[in-house]
């Protein structure tokens, strides 16, 4: 009797503890967002978004960093999308079961675990030095594209895997070739999942700071970039730069820039989730 009561008590105590732990993460998230909003929200105005950087905190804006992030976003997407989706298709539909495919799979899961700063070192030696791109947007985009490749490949494979084989069988039985089947049936049926993965990967890329610092993105860029070969800075580096300064005014700038960066990140995540839900609802096998 007492024993059963004791067990019941422990059980309920752990339940409360579980609720506290679960809420803890969310509360921290709330504090983080609230704090940043409190510090930075009043700083955001049109001037802040359209001004060039400045040594005076109250005059400084994020224009060059924002443009740099937009450039990086598009170039990284253009480079990573075809390679990542192509590799995903190859691994899922062509190279199955061989020893080579097994090796590729291990390799990709390892790449996914390599710290992002190591990709920075790779980009520095290969794109910046060997390919002579310098600390340009292009070098940064190639580096980030390699960084997010494993994410795109894995999510592409997941999406392709979800297409029932009966659909592929039906297409093949009508005399469609392998590629015709992939292009006309498998890909259209899985495009929602593929795009979700790509968007999530790119949203990860625009939050990256360390690899771009290593490939030589600058903390101070006086003009917005106008070509892929230009020097650049991005939002996270601008934030890092402002955070590193002792004056409180720069911390306010950093918070304001963080709000913009979080808005972009959450928006992309939201679009990705929306896409995924829509796609899952539309197709019920």
């Amino acid at each position: 009797m007492t024993n059963a009561l004791k067990n019941k008590l422990i059980d309920n105590a752990f339940k409360v503890f579980g609720i506290i732990c679960t809420l803890f993460g969310l509360v921290i998230l709330g504090i983080l967002i609230f704090n940043i909003a409190e510090v930075g929200l009043t700083r955001i105005d049109w001037n802040f978004i359209t001004s060039l950087p400045s040594r005076k905190a109250e005059k400084a804006g994020i224009y060059t960093a924002l443009m740099g992030t937009v450039w990086i976003l598009f170039l990284t997407a253009i480079i990573a999308f075809p390679i990542g989706v192509g590799a995903g298709i190859y691994l899922e539909e062509y190279g199955k079961k061989s020893k080579w495919a097994n090796f590729l799979e291990i390799n990709i899961s390892n790449l996914a675990g390599v710290p992002s700063i190591i990709y920075g070192l790779l980009g520095l030696e290969i794109f910046v030095r060997a390919f002579n791109m310098g600390g340009s947007i292009l070098a940064g985009s190639f580096t980030l594209a390699l960084l997010i490749l494993p994410i795109i490949i894995v999510s592409t494979r997941e999406a392709l895997k979800a297409v029932p084989s009966s659909i592929k069988d039906a297409s093949v039985a009508l005399g469609a070739s392998k590629w015709q089947t992939i292009w006309n049936q498998t890909l259209p049926a899985s495009i929602g999942g593929v795009l979700t993965g790509v968007i999530l990967a790119i949203s990860r890329a625009i939050g990256e700071t360390a690899p771009l610092i290593v490939v030589g993105a600058l903390a101070y860029v006086p003009f917005a970039p106008s070509s892929p070969m230009d020097e650049f800075t991005v939002m996270p580096i601008q934030i890092f730069n402002w955070v590193s300064r002792p004056q409180h005014e720069f911390a306010v700038n950093a918070a304001a820039a963080i709000i913009i960066l979080l808005l972009i990140t959450f928006m992309m995540n939201g679009v990705a989730v929306y896409y995924r839900n829509k796609w899952q609802k539309k197709i019920k096998w």
Binding site: D11, L104, P236
Partner: protein
């Protein structure tokens, strides 16, 4: 016949895309080795592994990696100290206690934590967590491993909780029912049946979280300081491997100089750590799959 050629071209292109992943691995290892070998031509490997100071940017140069390694291990330990109990409790709560709808909506909400750029966490650690900790313990330095480690731990909670929950979810329902059927409480079932049954999946999640913490850069670069020192005191400024690479990259170190090569020597150390951890987790995962097939 035309389609046959077309098919072959497409397959070759897809293969090419796949081979980029191999080239990336070869590139990473090649670049790290190339610069590190050049580094070890000037600095002995014994000094690198045993010297207790790391001061390559000073006039009195020392090249001992240990202070950077200790800084990395210290912040990682603090992070896991936060993430493991919290993450595992959350996983068990969501799997065993929470109402069904709760689980579905809370998991993605927690995963938001992993989607926030790390530079934001760095800002949070420096401007919120450190002042808060200083109000409890006034001797805490402005840059310290404790604050950075705790915030890093919060960031990796979803790694532990999501993957562990997946592992618990995969445990056959019959086991759970058998335990309940004998009159065990949810708590007893969780720790005596579910966690042991899902142990390999949970271990994998923790290893991946550790690997993530070791490679994490911006939080420690912002909040933990830039003073390499061989200590496990969490209240003083330290420097991690990653923060050092950022520090050098922010400055103007000429290409080909010894200082330039130090970041690759530091990089390869980092790479070896994470590679071993990733391989270990892959190996456990594979063994675990075979067990259930």
């Amino acid at each position: 016949m035309r389609t046959r050629t077309q098919e072959n071209i497409i397959e070759a292109l897809l293969k090419l895309a796949t081979s980029i992943t191999i080239l990336t691995t070869v590139g990473i290892i090649g670049v790290l080795l190339y610069e590190t070998i050049a580094f070890f031509k000037e600095v002995s490997i014994i000094e690198f592994l045993t010297d207790l100071e790391w001061t390559p940017l000073f006039s009195q140069k020392h090249f001992g990696i240990l202070p950077l390694v200790s800084g990395t291990i210290l912040t990682t330990l603090i992070a896991i100290g936060v993430a493991l109990p919290l993450g595992l409790t959350i996983a068990i709560y969501l799997n065993m206690y929470a109402p069904k709808g709760f689980r579905k909506s809370f998991k993605p909400m927690l995963e938001v934590l992993a989607a926030i750029p790390t530079v934001v966490y760095g800002f949070f650690a420096l401007t919120v967590v450190t002042p808060f900790l200083q109000s409890i313990y006034p001797n805490l330095a402005g840059f310290n491993a404790l604050s950075a480690g705790i915030v890093m731990g919060i960031m990796i909670i979803p790694f532990v909780s999501s993957l562990s929950e997946d592992a618990l979810y995969a445990v056959p329902k019959t086991l759970k029912e058998a335990s309940f059927g004998m009159g065990a409480t949810r708590f007893q079932t969780s720790f005596k049946v579910m966690v042991p049954a899902a142990s390999s999946g949970i271990i994998v999640s923790v290893i991946l979280a550790i690997s993530r913490a070791i490679g994490e850069t911006m939080i420690v670069a912002i909040a933990a300081g830039q003073q390499p020192r061989l200590t496990f005191d969490p209240t003083v400024p330290i420097e991690t491997i990653t923060a050092y690479i950022v520090q050098v990259s922010m400055g103007d170190v000429p290409h080909g100089s010894l200082e330039y090569r130090t970041i690759f020597a530091a990089g390869i150390t980092l790479f070896i750590f994470t590679f071993l951890l990733n391989t270990l987790s892959f190996w456990i995962k594979k063994k675990y799959q075979e067990k259930y097939d």
